[in-house]
C-alpha cells in the first residue's frame, strides 16, 4: 500500500444536494468516489493525485432504477451487479446486462457503478458500446439544476468528458424501443474474466425488406474514447448486407478508429480484430430474421 491514509480527507455528506453543494463551494477540490474500484487501485499504488474525496456510495438518490413505458432510468450509482440482475435491463437492454457481466469479477461488479465506468472514461470501458447502441442519454446535475446530453456528446478526448466542474452524472436514460431488434455484443480480452478489453463491440439493428433500416454500433478500446461508429453505420443504412457491403464497411471502420500499441495489445491486432468483430456482427445481422 503506497499511500499514507493520514494524507487524505474523505467526507460523506450523504445526500445529493449536500454533495453538489460541496462540489460547488470548493470547485476542483473534491474527487467523488462511488464503488472505489478505480480510485482505490490508484490510491493503493500511490498514484492518486487527489487528496480530498467525497463519498457517493451512501447517496441513495443515485441508486434508483425507475421506469416508464418509454424509458428506463438508471441511477448513476447502480452497480454492475444491479444492472445484471434487473429484470428490465435484462429484457430491454440485454447488451448492457451482458457488458456488466463482462466487467471484472463478481466482487468488482458488486462495487463498480455505471456512472463510475462512464465518468472514468477509459477508452476500454465495458459499458459504453452498449450505451451507444441503445442511444443513451445522460442526466448531469449540479447546484444549478439538471441537464441532459446524448451520450454520444459526452466523450471529448482521452479521459476528457463534457462533465462540467461541480457536476455529477446522476442518471442514464435508455429508451425502450429496441424490442425485436437484432443485437450482438462481443468482448476480446486477455482472458475470460477480470480482463480489460482489447476490443469490444455492441450493436443493435433492424432490417426492412432485406435492407438495413437502423444500425447502432459502439466499440471500445480502439480510439482515445469509446466510439459510436457513425461512419460505418452510415455506409450500411439503406443497403443490403451483401459480402461486398460488409467488406466495404470494414474499410470504412478503419477510417474511424485509431487503435494504439499499449501494454495489453498492439494497434495492428486491434485494428484487424475490430474488423473481424464488425464482420461477425454484420454477418450475424444479415442471417437474422427480426427476432421477437
Amino acid at each position: 500500500m503506497r499511500s499514507h491514509p493520514a494524507d487524505y480527507e474523505f467526507v460523506s455528506p450523504g445526500s445529493i444536494g449536500a454533495v453538489l453543494e460541496l462540489l460547488h463551494c470548493e470547485p476542483g477540490e473534491w474527487l467523488p468516489v462511488a464503488g472505489g474500484t478505480e480510485v482505490m487501485v490508484q490510491y493503493s499504488a500511490g498514484r492518486l493525485a487527489a487528496r480530498r474525496l467525497v463519498n457517493l456510495w451512501d447517496v441513495k438518490e443515485l441508486c434508483r432504477i425507475t421506469e416508464t413505458d418509454t424509458t428506463l432510468t438508471i441511477g448513476g450509482g447502480s452497480t454492475f451487479t444491479q444492472l445484471r440482475e434487473h429484470r428490465s435491463v435484462q429484457e430491454h437492454f440485454p447488451l448492457l446486462a451482458q457488458a456488466a457481466s463482462w466487467t471484472g469479477s463478481i466482487a468488482n461488479q458488486n462495487r463498480a457503478t455505471i456512472a463510475g465506468n462512464i465518468v472514468n472514461a477509459s477508452p476500454a470501458a465495458d459499458s459504453p458500446p452498449a450505451l451507444f447502441a441503445y442511444e443513451a442519454e445522460l442526466e448531469l446535475v449540479s447546484v444549478s439544476g439538471a441537464r441532459r446530453i446524448a451520450y454520444t456528446d459526452f466523450h471529448l478526448g482521452y479521459k476528457k468528458t463534457a462533465l462540467a466542474p461541480g457536476e455529477l452524472l446522476f442518471a442514464i436514460h435508455l429508451p425502450k424501443r429496441f424490442a425485436g431488434w437484432f443485437r450482438y455484443g462481443q468482448k476480446t480480452g486477455t482472458r475470460n474474466a477480470q480482463a480489460i478489453s482489447k476490443v469490444c463491440i455492441a450493436g443493435v439493428g433492424r432490417l426492412a425488406e432485406g435492407r438495413v433500416e437502423s444500425l447502432h454500433i459502439g466499440m471500445g478500446a480502439v480510439a482515445a474514447t469509446p466510439l459510436r461508429l457513425r461512419k460505418t453505420e452510415e455506409s450500411l443504412v439503406g443497403a443490403a448486407l451483401t459480402k461486398s457491403a460488409i467488406a466495404n464497411a470494414r474499410h470504412v471502420l478503419l477510417t474511424e478508429i485509431a487503435p494504439i500499441d499499449d501494454i495489453r495489445s498492439s494497434a495492428e491486432y486491434r485494428g484487424h480484430v475490430a474488423g473481424n468483430l464488425l464482420e461477425a456482427l454484420l454477418c450475424t445481422f444479415a442471417a437474422s430474421k427480426d427476432v421477437a
Binding site: 503506497r2 499511500s3 499504488a45 474474466a193 495489445s265 495492428e268 491486432y269 480484430v273 468483430l277
Partner: protein
C-alpha cells in the same frame, strides 16, 4: 505394494484445518513487540555507476534507520553457488530494481513515500537485454564474456550421422520469462540481540540456504544465526534463493536499528524485483530416417540468466540433460550456455530448465513428423526410451518404462485419433478451428548426478517427553503437501495413526539439514530418510522391551513416553545413502544423471478463434508414471496445479520487458488463468515403484510443468496448419503469423 494403511490414502492435509479457518499464520500476520518496518530503495537504470544519493524533502529522515553496503559486517554477497550476487549495490548497478539502500521506520505507510523521496543520480553504462546481444559480446556485462556457464554433452558420433539421414530437420524454439505469482509475496522478519544472535522468520523454501548466506553476510558464528520458516503461501522455486536476499536486508536493518524489522513486499515490488523463470532459445538440427528412426541431433540450448549467476548453472544443467526428451538418440550433442543480461537475476521455477528444453524437443518432434509424413504419435512410439536403452548422458534405464503404454492410454482417454481426424475435416474455413496435440516427456527426480551425495541430507524422528512423535526435517510446506506425506510415511513406518504424528517447524536450531525443498526430492529422498528414521525409532522401542508384538497408537505413545522418562531424549536419525552403481562424471557430464525419472504423456485439445485469434484449452489429459502415489488427493492437486501453470506459461503469461525492467508488474497486466479459463484437467497415474524412493515414490512436483506448453503449441499448430514455436503464444502473435503466410512446412532438406 499397496498393503499400506496410510500411505496411498487421501488423509487430510496436516495443516488443513488452520488453512480453511484462516488461522494459518503467514509472515505478514505476525508482529513482534517493538517491530518496525523496512523498505528498499532500488535502481531505476539497468546498468551504471551511482554518482550521488540525495534524501528529498518532506520526510522526517532523522526518524529513519538507513542501511547501505557499508553496513554489511561480513561479505556483501548473497552466497548461492558463486559469490557474485551483491546484497546491496556498492558502486555499480547491474539491473533495474537492484537494491541500493534500506530504510526502516515504525510507520509502515510512511516508507513508500520515503523510498520515493530518495533521489539517485547515475552515470549510465551500456547494457545488454537479450541472449543475442549478450552472446555477440560487444558489451561485456559479466566476467570475461558474459557466459555464466557452459555444458557439452555428447553421445555417439553426431557428425557421421548426417550422411545416413533421409531427412534433416531444423528449428528454433523460444520460451519467455515467467513470474511465479505465488499469492503470498516475499516477506521476512529479522530480530537481532547481541547475545542471542540473529533470528529470521519468513516465507521460504530452504531455511539452511538462508542460514548459509546470512552467516557469510553477517560474519556471525553459525550457531548465532537462526532461520525459521513460517507458513508460506506458495513458492514454486521463487522462494528458493530470494529469501536469502530479503532476509539479509531485514537482518541489516535489525542489526542497525536494534529493533525487529519486517520487510514485506507488495505485489508490484515482488514482480519487478525478484527472480523469474529463465528465458530460453533452443536450436535443434536432427537427422531421421524415412521410417521415423531418430539418428542424431545437434542441440544448442541457451538461457538468459539475468545480471548475476545465482542458480543459472544448475538450471542450465537440468535443461541440458533433459534436452533430448524421452527418446533414445543413438547420437546426440547438446551444447548449452547461460549468459548474462541486465535484468534481475533469473532463478528457480518449477521445472528448472526442463520446461524450456522439453518445449523445444517436443515441438521439434511434431515438425519432424510432419516433414517425413508420419503421425506425431507414431514417430514418438518408434523412438521412446525403454528399459536397457541409454539417455543422452549415457544413463542406462534400469527400471521398466512403458512410454508406449502411457501414450496409448493418453490417446484413448483424450479420444485423440478420432478428434485429430475430425478436426482435420472440419477446420477448413471454420470460424473456430480445433486442434489436438501431444507431448511426451520425463523429469529427473532429485538433485543431478552427485548432488544428493553432496547434500548428505539427514532426517530425524523423535519422541517427546509427553509421548508425541515428531518428524524433524528442514523440508518445508508451501502447499505441495510436505507436512502431510512425511507424517503419512512416519505413521506407516511406526504402525500408528496419522494424527499422532507431528512435524517440527523448520527451524535451523531445531531440525537437521535435510537439504532444500526443491528438485522434486521431498517424497522420494526425504521421505525415504523419514521412513528409515522412523523405523529406527520403532526398533529402539521394540528392543527396549517397552513395546509388545503389536500395539495401538496409545500404547506406542505410552511406550515412547516411558522410554524418554527412563533414558532421556529419544531420537533416531537417518543419513542419505546413494543407491549403488550410480556413477556420474561432472566433467564430461556423463553417467547416471538422476536416480529416477518420472514419465508422462499429456494431450491438449484447443480451439483457436479465427475472429480474435484467442486460444482456449478445451480439455487436458495428463497421464504419468510416478513410482508411487503417496496421497491421491495431494498428488492429483500437484498435477492439476502444474498443468494450470503450464497453460499460463504457454498462452497467457508474458513478461513485458522495457530495458530489463518488467513493465507489467501488476496482476491486472500479468495474466494467469482464472477459474473461467481453465479446462477440465484429467489426471491419471501409473505406478512402477522405485526401490530407492519412499514406498516406491519418485518426484512429481515439477513434472507437470514440462508437458502442457508443447502439447498446446502442437495442438495450435495442428488447428491452424501453421508453425508456432515460441511461447508465450498470444493472440497478437497468432494474428501476425497467420497474416503473413499460409501453412509453413518444417525447414526440410531431403537427402
Amino acid at each position: 505394494m499397496g498393503q499400506e494403511r496410510i500411505v496411498g490414502t487421501p488423509v487430510l492435509r496436516k495443516e488443513g484445518v488452520a488453512k480453511v479457518r484462516g488461522a494459518a499464520r503467514y509472515i505478514d500476520d505476525i508482529s513482534l513487540p517493538g517491530m518496525i518496518y523496512g523498505a528498499t530503495v532500488r535502481s531505476s537504470i539497468p546498468r551504471g555507476r551511482i554518482l550521488k544519493i540525495e534524501f528529498g524533502e518532506g520526510i522526517p529522515w532523522d526518524q529513519f534507520v538507513v542501511a547501505s553496503a557499508k553496513d554489511i559486517p561480513g561479505e556483501n554477497v548473497i552466497a548461492m553457488i558463486n559469490r557474485d550476487w551483491p546484497c546491496l549495490v556498492s558502486e555499480q548497478v547491474n539491473h533495474p530494481e537492484e537494491a541500493i539502500l534500506l530504510l526502516a521506520h515504525p510507520d509502515r505507510h510512511l516508507l513508500p513515500k520515503a523510498v520515493a523521496a530518495v533521489r539517485i543520480e547515475y552515470v549510465p553504462m551500456q547494457s545488454v537485454h537479450s541472449i543475442e546481444e549478450s552472446e555477440r559480446g560487444d558489451v561485456v556485462v559479466w566476467g570475461e564474456d558474459n557466459v555464466f556457464k557452459q555444458f557439452l554433452v555428447e553421445k555417439g558420433d553426431v557428425d557421421a550421422a548426417w550422411s545416413q539421414a533421409d531427412y534433416i530437420v531444423e528449428g528454433e524454439y523460444s520460451t519467455g520469462a515467467q513470474e511465479h505469482l505465488y499469492i503470498e509475496n516475499n516477506g521476512v522478519i529479522a530480530a537481532y540481540m547481541p547475545d542471542e544472535g540473529l533470528t529470521i522468520w519468513g516465507s521460504m523454501q530452504c531455511p539452511f540456504y538462508v542460514h548459509k548466506s546470512l552467516v557469510l553476510l553477517t560474519g556471525l558464528p553459525e550457531d548465532k544465526v537462526r532461520i525459521i520458516q513460517v507458513e508460506t503461501g506458495g513458492a514454486f522455486g521463487g522462494k528458493e534463493d530470494y529469501p536469502s536476499m530479503i532476509g539479509a536486508h531485514a537482518a541489516l536493518l535489525a542489526m542497525k536499528s536494534g529493533h525487529p524489522v519486517k520487510v514485506m513486499y507488495d505485489r508490484m515490488e515482488d514482480m519487478v524485483a525478484t527472480t523469474k523463470r529463465h528465458p530460453s532459445r533452443t536450436r535443434i538440427r536432427s537427422a531421421v530416417t524415412k521410417d521415423g528412426k531418430l539418428l542424431a541431433a545437434e542441440i544448442d540450448f541457451a538461457l538468459d540468466g539475468g545480471a548475476y549467476s545465482t542458480l543459472s548453472s544448475t538450471v542450465l544443467s537440468r535443461g541440458t540433460i533433459h534436452a533430448g526428451g524421452p527418446y533414445c538418440w543413438p547420437n546426440i550433442r547438446v551444447r548449452s550456455k547461460a549468459v548474462a543480461t541486465n535484468c534481475p537475476p533469473h532463478g528457480a521455477f518449477r521445472g528448472f530448465g526442463a520446461p524450456q528444453s522439453l518445449f523445444a524437443i517436443e515441438r521439434h518432434m511434431d515438425r519432424v513428423a510432419q516433414a517425413i509424413g508420419m503421425q506425431p504419435d507414431e514417430l514418438r512410439r518408434r523412438n521412446f526410451l525403454r528399459q536397457g536403452l541409454t539417455t543422452s548422458t549415457g544413463q542406462v534405464i534400469r527400471e521398466p518404462v512403458d512410454l508406449e503404454g502411457l501414450l496409448s492410454r493418453a490417446l484413448a482417454l483424450s479420444d485423440y485419433p478420432a478428434k485429430r481426424e475430425r478436426f482435420d475435416r472440419e477446420n477448413l474455413g471454420a470460424k473456430k478451428k480445433k486442434g489436438i496435440g501431444i507431448s511426451a516427456f520425463l523429469h529427473g527426480s532429485g538433485f543431478t548426478g552427485s548432488g544428493e551425495r553432496n547434500l548428505n541430507s539427514v532426517a530425524a524422528m523423535e519422541a517427546t517427553a509427553d509421548g508425541k512423535l515428531r518428524v524433524l526435517v528442514s523440508s518445508t510446506e508451501f502447499g505441495q503437501g510436505t507436512n502431510t506425506i512425511l507424517c503419512q510415511i512416519a505413521a506407516e513406518a511406526l504402525g500408528i495413526d496419522y494424527d499422532a504424528i507431528e512435524i517440527a517447524p523448520p527451524d535451523t536450531s531445531l531440525v537437521p539439514n535435510t537439504g532444500p525443498t526443491v528438485a522434486s526430492r521431498t517424497s522420494m529422498i526425504v521421505g525415504k530418510l523419514v521412513h528409515s528414521a522412523a523405523l529406527g525409532l520403532k526398533q529402539t522401542l521394540q528392543t527396549s522391551g517397552l513395546l509388545g508384538e503389536g500395539w495401538t497408537t496409545d500404547e506406542f505413545c505410552e511406550a515412547a513416553k516411558a522410554h524418554v522418562a527412563k533414558y532421556g531424549a529419544l531420537r533416531s536419525t537417518s543419513r542419505y545413502e546413494p543407491p549403488p552403481d550410480v556413477y556420474w562424471d561432472d566433467q564430461k557430464y556423463r553417467g547416471e544423471a538422476y536416480p529416477a525419472f518420472a514419465w508422462a504423456v499429456y494431450v491438449a485439445e484447443v480451439t483457436v478463434d479465427m475472429i480474435t485469434y484467442g486460444v482456449t484449452v478445451d480439455d487436458f489429459v495428463a497421464v504419468q508414471e510416478v513410482g508411487r502415489v503417496l496421497n491421491p488427493v495431494l498428488a492429483t492437486g500437484q498435477i492439476e496445479g502444474g498443468v494450470a501453470q503450464g497453460i499460463g506459461y504457454a498462452i497467457y503469461e508474458k513478461v513485458q520487458w522495457e530495458r530489463g525492467r518488467m513493465a507489467n508488474g501488476q496482476m491486472t497486466n500479468y495474466i494467469i488463468p482464472t477459474s473461467q479459463d481453465i479446462p477440465p484437467i484429467r489426471v491419471f497415474f501409473e505406478e512402477t515403484p522405485f526401490s530407492h524412493g519412499a514406498f516406491g515414490a519418485k518426484g512429481i512436483g515439477e513434472l507437470p510443468m514440462d508437458g502442457p506448453a508443447p502439447a498446446i503449441l502442437n495442438a495450435v499448430s495442428h488447428a491452424t496448419g501453421d508453425d508456432f514455436n515460441s511461447i508465450p503464444l498470444l493472440p497478437e502473435d497468432i494474428y501476425l503469423r497467420l497474416g503473413l503466410s499460409r501453412a509453413v512446412p518444417a525447414e526440410v532438406v531431403t537427402v
